[in-house]
Symmetry: C2
Subunit: 257 residues, 2 copies
Amino acid sequence: MPPSQADQAAGLEHVSTEAPGRRTPLTPRAKARAQTIADILRLGREHLAVSGAAALSLRAIARHLGFVSSAVYRYVESRDELLTLLLIDAYDELGDEVEAAVGAAGPGDHRASFHALCRAVRSWALREPARYALLFGSPVPGYQAAPERTTGPGTRVIVRLMAILDAAYRAGALADGGTTAAAVPGKLAADLEAIRSEFHLELPAALLAAGALVWTSLFGAVSFEVFGQYGADTFKARDELFEHHLAVLEGLAGLSG
Amino acid sequence: MPPSQADQAAGLEHVSTEAPGRRTPLTPRAKARAQTIADILRLGREHLAVSGAAALSLRAIARHLGFVSSAVYRYVESRDELLTLLLIDAYDELGDEVEAAVGAAGPGDHRASFHALCRAVRSWALREPARYALLFGSPVPGYQAAPERTTGPGTRVIVRLMAILDAAYRAGALADGGTTAAAVPGKLAADLEAIRSEFHLELPAALLAAGALVWTSLFGAVSFEVFGQYGADTFKARDELFEHHLAVLEGLAGLSG
């Protein structure tokens, strides 16, 4: 098996195997099956870029592969299953790039970690606009989500962001930033307390709420850029605009104090 | 003509007439034509909600209206023209609701105006998720935009937001908010200067850049809520979360000083 096929099969185990810890050698039949599913995913990514998520069609992919359309369902059982596989695949690629960027920034430098995370999100989004749109754009009409499979990959960026802010707080490197003046009413406090408890955060509620806003603001700015909301002429200095936003957002998160 | 048809015809003039100031009485033929285009738009909005923008089909709408598919093109010449009409229609409804909300807040109360604008955006988005997705979600594959027709309606919210911040600045009611500490490098400064000049703003560059971030952050938070990014259980107190975000964002804009 050439390396690219091995990589694809390994990638596939990652998304489709029930017990990812157990890596038994694949039989030739299982290898062929994994290769076919990898081909379907690759074509799915291409169709996503050309036609968008809502028009994704397993039949069209089957034609592309030279299958009769009924045969493709032996590999990927439905359009929704294909969307779920593409979601997991994209979330994990984004998550891997964010982890790598944050790792390279060094664990003790909270601001550098924050900047690395934000820049990695934007870089991936600009390179993969169709997959970014699948993750963060319009919901796909009729898609029945599989949250038990997508929530893990889909929360890697926010979990990493919260870990950076929490580490900064524990190190005494997180200032108030003025955001704690905003009241946190009871029902919201209960939501935040549940998050603090689930992720073992020391971050106080008001800073956690500000962190959630930093998270949606990061994606808001990236979505406006990737989805073409700025218009052709309004902001030509996109890199500098984003860096300016990061400087403001790190203040909002409490990191620049 | 019953009132509902009159309203629809009037609404149509709004989106399709070259000279909106001139309102000559419609001939019966023109009335019938306006009514048909209004029906096509209404069905377009319904299909948007069921199938999404990417799957919008003039042929399907023609079938719905009992036309042969070639006949529908005499009224709306292409799918892209239908998308452009739906964009203008949605941008204008959003713009009208934002204007009305800000108007009700009173011109002298800058913070109340800001809150009213943000709440109006969120309310419209939650009520019209499919049209919100058309405006602010994934780009529609293959759509050739008509910026000369959509830019005016599409910039009403940001123009209004900048007017609120500029009025607050002129009234001495806009504080630094800490955001002016972020450097505005040369190329970004040129972009901001062009915006200040085009819209006759006194708002300094750093506050204008912060205002742009407030704008994308507002839509980032609304998109995460409308597109289902928060997950089912993470934030139950959505109203309170949004109000908390507004309190932080008004600080970021400099309004709470």
